[in-house]
């Protein structure tokens, strides 16, 4: 069907063809008309020439007739009757057509058409009447009858009476009239020819004019079409190039624009110097042979940018109009870049540029397949940054991102070129070590940990980071899922074991993980069943040895696990959100205890009961309402309660941070004491502290533990203490376990202290008993 349509001849399909058709038809019509007219004119002229000849002959015959009559009348031999007959016959034939007789054999018999034209016919009729009168007069003269009495039929009024004179007058008039008729006929023929010539001229001029108009139309149509196509080509962003035997023959303006170079410079072999060397051979093959139908190549423009082009190749070497190979090219640079970027993005982490989880899995699958054949070992390291969430929460995500990039750079610097370093998501990295055994994997893990030892400088802060690393080595039959899961377990074990370290996967770990998963459920149940209780660790004034307060510590009496310390389950409650309920329980219980102590009259002057508040509780909002509600419910003086918050709350950014500080300030103004817990491990600065309502700085046990023998720890403790004093705060040292530590922190200026040296955590009843006793009781408890 389509084939049929394509071969159907449609001569009038385009406007140009229609105009050409009109020109041809006009020429044909004009020519046909002209030729017909000419042929007719020629035919008529030929007839009329014969008529003129016969008419002119009448003159001769008339004169001959008179001479013959006179001869015959004089008795000489003559044949006037024959001449009279010839005269009469000729006159008839001239008028009505027919065969004109030959005269004396000096001319041939001629067939004449009837004469047309009114004047000519009238004249010929007159001539016939005169012939009649002449021959009648001749007959009368030869018959010796009176010539003057012969009636005249042509209106002539001859007054001469001499018969010969009369005959001669009649002959003269006859010949004159015949010649006149001949002249009329000839003139008419001339006029006809003149008319034909005029018509021919008119036709010629009209035809010329029409052709001119149509040609102008054709030119207009062609120009419009050419302009149409030119504008299509020039305005198109498509690049059009034509290659012939001599090289590039045509480039569209868009090519010039793209390359920043006039099109004339690209003709011949000029174009090839823009083409990438790798693509030149393929492009040449396409432009010389017209195949393949699609070719990709790169061009470098004047600004040294590489552009990717995709061209359709059309072989028009057989086309008489083109004689070359045409390339219709599109600039696909952006598309190619996008494709490359998408490919990269699909397998790389956008933040750090490392391989992503998908690429890591792919590499691991390949490596596993490879090791199955070669029996080479391989190892997977799963690295999770410790405390990254705190950085993100306190310094914001930008700082977190910067930290991840920094860490990625450090890890990349300590892994081998053949290793695959990937960021699996969040703060979780992974390393694939091909051909590595366990000792080698441990070695790499150590190097990773060491790379984090130098502090990271972010947002004008110096952060100290650590990481927990899980290691698993490849084994026969394991797939990538197994390995990643096992490495994850090992990593978790490393975190459990105290962070900043690595663990190699052991099969027992799977069981331990299962236990942990069951923990949340048990905790929730324990909260409902009242399995949690508060224990109080006294805080001591180093100068007076007096008990100035106590830190409430929550413990869990698990029916299956026994007594569980807070460190074992707090992180679980924080991740699951159970901390909110637990925090509320602790506050309520502490307030209840204060009321009990007050009722028993055991509370010394200025005694403060400190309650730990999780960062999550602070950032969630509503802490002020909760505290006020519990205080008023238990009818407790706010000054008897203290809240220990982590540094996170002090430096938290954004609306949540502002709200948290506002709520804490409102509690502070109410009289509630505020302490910053674990001070020195976070990222709070002097500036933050000045704006923050706080009474006490609790110096972290990690500094206190080394204070007696590590000059660095001693210096930090001294600095923190003087910082607290400079801000008008109380400095409290945590974790005092020996007399030498106590002496050291007292030497460094700490005001209060807390630790096993003084007292373990105890129940409210035990503390009341202690408070009711004297210092000896304390000494006894600490002993």
């Amino acid at each position: 069907m389509r084939l049929q349509r394509s071969v159907t001849f449609r001569p009038l399909e385009t406007r140009g063809r229609r105009v050409i058709g009109a020109i041809l038809v006009t020429f044909a019509l004009v020519s046909a008309l002209s030729i017909t007219l000419s042929l007719r004119a020629i035919g008529r002229s030929r007839h009329q020439a014969a008529v003129v000849q016969v008419a002119a002959r009448q003159r001769t015959l008339a004169e001959r007739y008179v001479n013959e009559v006179l001869l015959a009348h004089g008795g000489r031999r003559a044949d006037p009757a024959t001449t009279a007959r010839l005269l009469a016959q000729s006159a008839d034939v001239l008028l009505d057509g027919g065969e004109a007789p030959a005269v004396n054999g000096d001319d041939d018999e001629t067939t004449l058409p009837p004469t047309s034209g009114e004047t000519a016919r009238l004249q010929l009729q007159q001539a016939r009447r005169l012939v009649h009168d002449l021959t009648a007069a001749g007959s009368a003269y030869l018959g010796h009858r009176p010539v003057a009495s012969v009636p005249l039929t042509a209106h002539e009024r001859i007054t001469a009476t001499d018969p010969v004179q009369r005959l001669r007058i009649l002959a003269a008039v006859t010949s004159n009239v015949s010649l006149d008729a001949a002249r009329t006929i000839a003139t008419r023929a001339d006029r006809n020819v003149g008319r034909v010539v005029t018509i021919q001229i008119v036709l010629g001029v009209a035809g010329l004019f029409a052709s001119l108009l149509l040609s102008l139309g054709l030119i207009a149509v062609t120009r419009r079409q050419t302009a149409h196509f030119r504008s299509l080509i020039t305005s198109s962003t498509d690049l059009v190039l034509v290659f012939g035997r001599e090289g590039c023959r045509y480039v569209s303006e868009s090519v010039g624009k793209m390359l920043g170079c006039p099109p004339s410079e690209m003709l011949g072999s000029g174009f090839e110097r823009f083409v990438a060397a790798d693509d030149l051979a393929g492009l040449r093959a396409a432009t010389e042979q017209g195949t393949p139908s699609r070719v990709l190549f790169r061009l470098r423009n004047r600004f040294d940018e590489w552009r990717n082009l995709e061209a359709n190749v059309t072989d028009l070497r057989g086309d008489r109009q083109v004689h070359g190979v045409v390339l219709n090219a599109r600039d696909v640079t952006e598309r190619v870049r996008l494709e490359e970027e998408l490919t990269r993005q699909a397998f790389h982490d956008g933040l750090t540029g490392l391989a992503n989880r998908a690429l890591f899995r792919d590499r691991l699958d390949h490596a596993l397949a490879q090791s199955a054949r070669s029996r080479d070992s391989l190892a997977v390291l799963l690295v999770d940054l410790d405390g990254f969430k705190q950085v993100n929460d306190s310094l914001g995500h930008d700082a977190g991102d910067q930290l991840l990039r920094d860490v990625a750079g450090r890890f990349a610097a300590v892994t081998r070129p053949g290793d695959t370093l990937a960021r699996l998501g969040g703060d979780e990295f992974a390393v694939l070590l091909e051909g590595a055994n366990e000792p080698m994997a441990k070695n790499i893990a150590r190097r990773l940990l060491t790379s984090l030892s130098a502090p990271v400088e972010i947002a004008d802060r110096s952060l100290r980071l650590s990481a927990s690393i899980g290691i698993v080595t490849g084994r026969v039959g394991a797939d990538s899922d197994d390995l990643i899961r096992d490495a994850d377990l090992a990593m978790y074990a490393a975190k459990e074991a105290g962070r900043g370290r690595f663990e190699v996967f052991r099969h027992e770990m799977a069981r331990e993980l299962g236990e942990l998963l069951g923990l949340e459920h048990e905790l929730r149940q324990g909260l409902e069943l009242g399995q949690f209780a508060l224990y109080y660790q006294p805080l001591v004034d180093l100068e007076s040895n007096a008990i100035v307060g106590a830190e409430a510590l929550v413990r869990w009496h698990s029916p299956t696990r026994g007594l569980v310390l807070a460190e074992r389950f707090i992180s679980v409650t924080e991740t699951t959100g159970l901390i909110m309920e637990l925090g509320a329980f602790v506050l309520r219980e502490a307030c209840r205890q204060i009321t009990a102590w007050q009722a028993a009259g055991t509370l010394p002057e200025g005694f403060v009961t400190w309650v730990n508040v999780s960062g999550r509780q602070v950032s969630a909002g509503g802490l002020d309402n909760l505290v006020e509600r519990e205080l008023s419910r238990a009818r407790v003086d706010p000054a008897l309660l203290g809240l220990e918050v982590t540094e996170t709350a002090v430096v938290m950014e954004g609306a949540a941070g502002d709200r948290a500080r506002r709520e804490l300030r409102s509690l502070y103004e109410l009289g509630v004491h505020i302490a910053v817990d674990d001070f020195g491990t976070g990222f709070s600065s002097l500036g933050h502290l000045r704006q923050f309502p706080v009474d006490v700085l609790k110096i972290d046990r990690s500094f206190v533990q080394g204070v007696e023998h590590d000059p660095k720890d001693a210096a930090i403790t001294a600095n923190l203490t003087s910082l607290a004093h400079a801000l008008g705060l109380v400095a409290l040292a945590e974790g005092i376990e020996s007399q030498s530590q106590r002496a050291a922190v007292q030497e460094l200026g700490c005001d209060h202290a807390q630790g096993y040296l003084f007292a373990h955590a105890m129940t409210g009843v035990e503390l009341a008993r202690l408070l009711a006793g004297d210092d000896a009781g304390l000494e006894a408890a600490s002993a």
Partner: protein
């Protein structure tokens, strides 16, 4: 519809061109007009085979002869002073000897075809004049008329 109108436009252009050319050609013919004076009394002179019709007498002074040939043959009109009864003939005895005519204000209009005519202004002194056609045999066949100018 649009295509048809465009085709009609081409056709009308061609026709217009042809018409213009024709008009120019005919106009050249029309531009030839007959010259003549417009003063004096009009005297009608009619010729046909073989007689001349004209008034027998006219007053002297300038007159316009409106001559017309009704044919069918071609005729001339010559006006000549008449002395005696007949004009002198040539030796052939068939035509008037024009050389022998009085060369006083002769009027000669030659070769008028059938249906043609002309106007001639003349100022004839009083006398007898002959109007005639001098084609071979025409004078003797009766194509003459005497005109008296008083």
């Amino acid at each position: 519809m649009r295509r048809l109108s465009r085709r009609l436009r081409y056709l009308s252009c061609a026709l217009l061109a042809a018409a213009l050319t024709g008009l120019v050609t005919v106009g050249v013919g029309w531009s030839r007009t007959e010259a003549g004076t417009r003063t004096g009394k009009v005297i009608s002179v009619t010729e046909r085979d073989f007689r001349i019709k004209a008034p027998a007498s006219i007053p002297t002074g300038r007159v316009r002869l409106r001559i017309r040939n009704l044919g069918p043959d071609t005729h001339e009109l010559i006006v000549a002073r008449l002395r005696g009864r007949q004009l002198p003939l040539r030796a052939d005895g068939l035509t008037v000897d024009e050389e022998a005519l009085e060369p006083l204000h002769p009027v000669v209009v030659e070769g008028m075809e059938r249906g043609k005519g002309t106007e001639v202004s003349v100022d004839l002194p009083p006398g007898r004049y002959e109007l005639f056609c001098n084609m071979a045999g025409h004078y003797l066949s009766g194509m003459h008329r005497t005109l008296v100018v008083r």
